[in-house]
Amino acid sequence: MPDTIAPSLETHDLTVRFGGHVAVDAVSCTFRPGELTAIVGPNGAGKTTYFNLISGQIPASAGRVMLEGKDITRLSVAARTALGLGRAFQLTNLFPRLSVLENIRLVIQARTRRGFRLWSMAASQHDLLQAADAVLERVRLTHLAHLPITALPHGDQRKVEVAVLIAMEPRVFMFDEPTAGMSIDEAPVILDLIAGIKRDPAVTVLLVEHKMDVIRSLSDRIIVLHNGALVADGPPAEVMASSVVQEAYLGKELIDV
């Protein structure tokens, strides 16, 4: 990836401590549009915590997060979302008793900043409903639009989770194990969606994933976290071949690649 493209997301010495434990340790990394970066590492390496620091669920102890050149370290989660950062969660995290359509409609309502309208009727804002329908079409969930989330099987809930992210239209997409707990038949649908998102050269994708075949087929670059620190960064083939990474951090799984 040429360095001439301005970075979309940067972390500078990003650190978070919980008591004496350093969960993310001075991670500096630059992400550029048109690139899908897989973040790997053993359980407890700090991958999800690193995500939480970037999207703002946890405040950083030290260091900075920059989005398109703007320091967002002190901004709220909602403010970061408004600036174009979008995150899907590892555990499905939706509005359980609301319908699939309403879950998506709310996202588009947030993006178009219409949440503070108190005196118009939500049900008559047809443009939002149409936009939500279009997103559901894209993830092939139209037939479930009017069911509450609780009535959906796990795989479909994961699809809604991805649909929420698509509806947010962020410029930086963050996926945290999007296929976790999905069956072998269901996972490819999600992966196709991510591949489709990646095709847009203006977007940056960050992906936390364990499944090596997924990483191999999707990623342009891999970074490896271990004990909260960044220990490897480079093209997939190079990182996977690195002996340090293989032996110490990724275990046997990668050696078999």
């Binding site: 709310l106 309502q109 947030a110 009727m121």
Partner: protein, 352 residues
């Protein structure tokens, strides 16, 4: 037309629609259907409590925020009218000014409480509202020079709203129409407008965000809603409507005192009605209030009658004695929560 007034949020159940129409009809024509001071008193109380309970439902059922200060806001509205008319003399201007002052103070107090506590965790809000409400109740009973203390205050309202005023020489539909009836219609229409206004708000984009926050505040923030501002706004709206209901109540009763507006019992009543009627439905406030206020006012009479009727049997007359009415109200509450966990409205809409 109906759709517009109901903001597209109909009863969604034929039985519920019929019950609501019946309640609306009875309240709209109460002076003619049920002549007599006491029944008019009950009808006005139902109107006012529908608004008070619905404003609490806006907070609890839609935004998922538990508050114990709702009667405090109700009381602020009532005392606003009482104190203003005492200071400025009896006029419509002082009624309006008192109402606005009560609503304004309620809004500011709600803003301060919400900003201090909702930033942290929703449970702190519940505790702080309890503390502030108790403090205000103590203040009201101590500052007797301003509030009349435990005795409360009588309110002198314009003559056109009192029983002494006779707008018509001839009876209307068999009823000798008085200023009291005009006052009732002031209550009825104010409450109707406030209720429809709240129905509109809960069906607005803002209302949808409140429901999203109730379902999953974490996710609402992640998709870009600044949760704190929505919660603060919901708290203020609910407080202002409660204060307006309090002002109407004061004008209707021509009296305000700690027990009628600020009491813990009223707070408990509101909670019970919201749960019995069905949280997050708005219509639950209507059905719940109608049943609850009727039971509160007439259960004693019915029980007195029933007690006399079974006087020849052992034990039963004691159980049905009017003094036991609170026990029966409690049993009714437990049964309704057990059989209708989603409230009467939830049950009628087929939500289990």
């Amino acid at each position: 037309m109906v759709r517009l007034f109901l903001s597209g949020d109909g009863p969604q159940s034929r039985i519920l629609g019929a019950i609501l129409l019946l309640i609306l009809f009875c309240l709209a024509f109460a002076p003619f259907l049920f002549p007599g001071t006491r029944s008019l008193e009950t009808a006005a109380r139902i109107c006012i409590f529908i608004v008070l309970v619905a404003s609490y439902d806006l907070l609890l059922g839609y935004a998922g925020i538990v508050s114990f200060a709702h009667t405090m806001f109700f009381g602020l509205g009532a005392y606003g009218v009482a104190i203003t008319t005492q200071r400025m003399g009896t006029s419509y201007e002082s009624l309006i000014l008192g109402t606005m002052a009560g609503a304004g103070i309620a809004a500011v107090l709600a803003l301060v409480i919400a900003l201090f506590s909702l930033r942290v965790r929703a449970i702190f809000f519940a505790m702080i509202t309890l503390a502030v409400a108790s403090a205000v109740a103590v203040l009201v009973s101590q500052l007797s020079a301003i509030t009349g203390g435990e005795d409360g205050m009588n309110i002198r309202i314009p003559r056109e709203l009192t029983p002494a005023f006779r707008p018509f020489d001839e009876p209307v539909l068999g009823v000798r129409f008085s200023g009291r009836h005009l006052n009732y219609y002031l209550v009825f229409f104010t409450c109707l407008i406030l209720f429809l206004g709240m129905l509109r708000i809960v069906n607005s984009p803002f209302g949808r965000v409140l429901q999203a926050i109730r379902e999953n505040a974490f996710r609402a923030e992640a998709i870009g809603y600044r949760v704190i501002w929505y919660r603060v706004t919901a708290t203020i709206l609910s407080a202002v409507v409660a204060a307006l209901a309090g002002s109407v109540f004061a004008v209707w009763l021509r009296y305000v005192g700690p027990a009628t507006t600020l009491g813990v019992e009223i707070m408990l009543d509101i909670l019970l009605i919201v749960v019995i009627g069905g949280m997050g439905t708005m219509y639950g406030a209507v059905v719940g209030t109608a049943i609850f206020v009727l039971a509160q006012n007439y259960l004693k009479d019915w029980m007195g009658g029933a007690s006399d009727a079974v006087g020849f049997m052992p034990l039963l007359p004691d159980l049905l004695s009017p003094d036991r009415w609170l026990m029966w109200l409690g049993i009714l509450f437990i049964l309704s929560v057990y059989f209708f966990p989603t409230g009467i409205v939830g049950r009628l809409r087929g939500v289990t």
